[in-house]
Amino acid sequence: MSVFSIEVLLALLGLVIIAAAAFLPQVSDRVLAWTGIAGCGGALLLLTVASKALPAFVAPFYSLDSLALFYKGFALVITALVLWLVTESEKTLGGYSLDGRFGELIGLPLIVCTGMMWMASAKDLVTVFVTLELVTVSFYVLVAYTRKSALSLEAGVKYLILGAAATGVLIYGSAWVYGATGSLTFEGIAAAVKNPAVDKSVLLFGSVFLLAGVGFKVAAAPFHMWVPDVYQGASTPVTTFLSVGSKASGFIVLTRVIDALLADGSRVAGEVTGMLLISAAITILLGSLPAIFQTSVKRLLAYSSISHAGFLLLALASGAPVRLDLSSGGIVAFYLATYLPMTVLAFFVLCVARRHGIGDSLDEIKGLGRRSPLLAFLLTIAMASLAGLPLTAGFLGKMLVFIAAVDHGYWGVIGCAVVGAAAGFYYYFKVILAIYTNEGSAEEPLRLSIASQAIATSLAIVIVFLGIYPRPLQMALVSSTGAHVNAQK
């Protein structure tokens, strides 16, 4: 069995679940959700044992380097966690649909997951486009899914219109790049950027649109305007999925595109790096400075997600750092791997709070520390890690980015990153402070199932473990991106 067929099976599972939700009323959504989670778990298992040989017909458009394998695993993990969040939000979600069912919210993430897994293997811009659309179109539905909520509808429309425009821009850019280089594959583009016969201005013109299109998906400034409204309007599990899954899939594409455009001897390296650096700087600032003034935790996390995208862009712009085993793609993967548990944990707390009628404003989460000491403690760890405090996973990601940037001497952007990180201390601590403030809050404790407690606690343990002992993750990435770097050279 090849890795390729796992994705096909996963998409089938998604369709089966959607059909079951429509035609089998006796099967509860909870059962469907756990089936989906089991499917992701099984796929993850298969991914490790499946043969890495590819059928001949997919080989031209499907690569299986270890970076691809890493992102496939990443997609499966985040999908399973999102489905878990869906079960946690059961009550909330049921209230928003017409018949109290939300099967599509379980089936579609599996299809998104298929898209993300496939995207990780994309070798050319056509596959990127197809898989990106598979992901994005599913997200149009997911974002607007809680259709009784006005905010959700607003988010859906915003995401649809801006997303469609971004797709157009992406396609337009791809066409120009093809026109300049005569190739749609990353290999071909990497070869063409060194070729003096290629018209540099045409290639640059195309690259700008290409980067803008992908930049929209990863919430890079100045294409980040949609993020706060969409994150706030979408139901929390979907927001989590957008924040981690969609961002990660955007970054795998961006990694491939940038690797091609910045290949050794590239004639556009200076301009592309410049664009990335400028975008990184303003993304960090436009993410973290407005976050200071947010009163809704969800919006705050949306801005924080923008700011994290800025750090990831900075890592990409730094290229292969001189003295790290990790390539820039490896650093991005490392950062995303640390970003996953802390973001999921933060949104999980919001899900549970929502179930108990607590909204997501800073005022409403007051007293959480007394109502559920465990949740408050876990949220504290997640926030500390998002802020990038040492001994949590978040610090190491930021540290690698800083080292890479300092190695290249990008001092201006580093200055912005320092400002962004300092602002982070403020707004993340604002959340911690709110949950431990006790005045005027209800006393009723929050209920959590044992399974949820176990999963949430293990996410927190992963955060601290990776913060103190990141070696396993690094080993996995060095072996994967080592091959990746060598392949480039």
């Binding site: 003295r323 790290l324 085993d325 403690f377 040492p390 001994l391 540290m399 800083f402 080292i403 990180a421």
Partner: protein
Amino acid sequence: MSLLEIVIFLPILAALAIWLGLPARATSVTVALINLLIVGWVALGFDAGRLGAGEYAHVSSRVVLENPAIAFAVGIDGMSLILALLTTLVTFAAVWQIFAEKDAVFHIASLLISAGALGAFLSTDLFFIYGFHELALIPTFLMIALHGHGDREARRAVAWKITVYLGLASLVLLAGLAALVLNLSEGPVLTFDLTALAHKSASLPAATQEWIFFTLLLGFGALVSLFPFHSWAAPAYATAPTSVAMLHAGVLKKFGLYGLLRIAMPLLPLGAQAPWIQHALLLMLLGNILVMGLVTIHQSRLDDMLANSSVMHMGYIFLGIAAGNELALKGAVVLMFAHGISIALSFALCGRMRNQLGTLEFDKLGGLATHAPMLAVVFAFAAFASIGLPGLANFAGEVMVFAGTFDTKLWSPERLNALQWTTILALWGVVMSAVYMLRAYRKLFFGTAASGLYMKDPSAGQRVPLVLLAAVLLIVGCCPSTLIDLMKTAWTTAKVAGL
């Protein structure tokens, strides 16, 4: 598992256990006592003569990352041993003096701060030195914001100030440390190991050393409330719950000084000697001593006065660092220890007073000695130590620092240079200390209270931490060699590097 690892992780485990439901007071006091005994035992068995330059005892190392090479490495030499002693002593006193009716969170926070400080002092890897210090800062922020004194808005404002201030300082520090790692790593692998980084320090160009040193000086300096980056400190200590004030002012603040002594000076010897950095440092520390001295004199409340005096006294330790010879540096370490103990004792007493009297304003208080003679005696220890009276620990440190700045290698009798002039001006700070401390003492303990406020002596049990700290001040003051002998070789790296 090495002894030092146990010392670092025991408080963290205890904090976790308390959170899960173990009796707070019993657990934290027991753990603090165990830690104190372990560190004391290590100190008794510590033979400074056996350690060579840049060597550590009780070493253990666990690799956590290959490239950049990061290891959870611990080790101890004279300086870190003295600071570990300080930490365990103050922790023990701080958790003991927490009143029985207080929330468990006071114990948890104290233990976490203690663990962070111990981790920072005992690690020999830059990554963990930095990381543990940050770990200790979080509970500090939270405790000030949530359980500080004063009304809610005011303590929130103070907590934010210290969060943003120290957060920024940490980032500046991080930038400096990153530059250190990038410039001093040999070969293809970046390393965070202090010993490995030292190999290349001699060959780094002076200009590079200077700007990295200056970055580190600003970063570490702001963490120690070096003038003009000091304005977070006084309100923070005045607002913080007693145990947190004791631990932060007494122990955690010393981290910045420790960092300069352990990291910046040995690794960047040329940076430390650069005249412009020297002059900048001298100016800043004069700001600490003279400006903050005057500010302290003008305080009308005991907590504000103690908090400001704590900022002021950092100036003397910086003076020792600026002098940079063996005597002055050893003096600086003794002074770090002495100041830590004396300020912790002061804040413990101040906390008792606030609790029983409800006010700390000098004008309202008086005659406390009548009903609380024991308290008056212990307060005298803290106050006199703070002034630098002979026989108490601070005196030993200050004398060593002052004498060190007049080392024959640093000046010629014909002409005083900037360092000696600074010392001469700094000596006036001692006069200022005497002015505000003695005045406070007179107002608090003699005369009569404006509104008949009085307080009782602490119960026998509550005397333990106070007597312990006062005794340490006296012992170290009478035979400072107990500490100085621990540091026989701590300075060899610095000396080899040309200090």
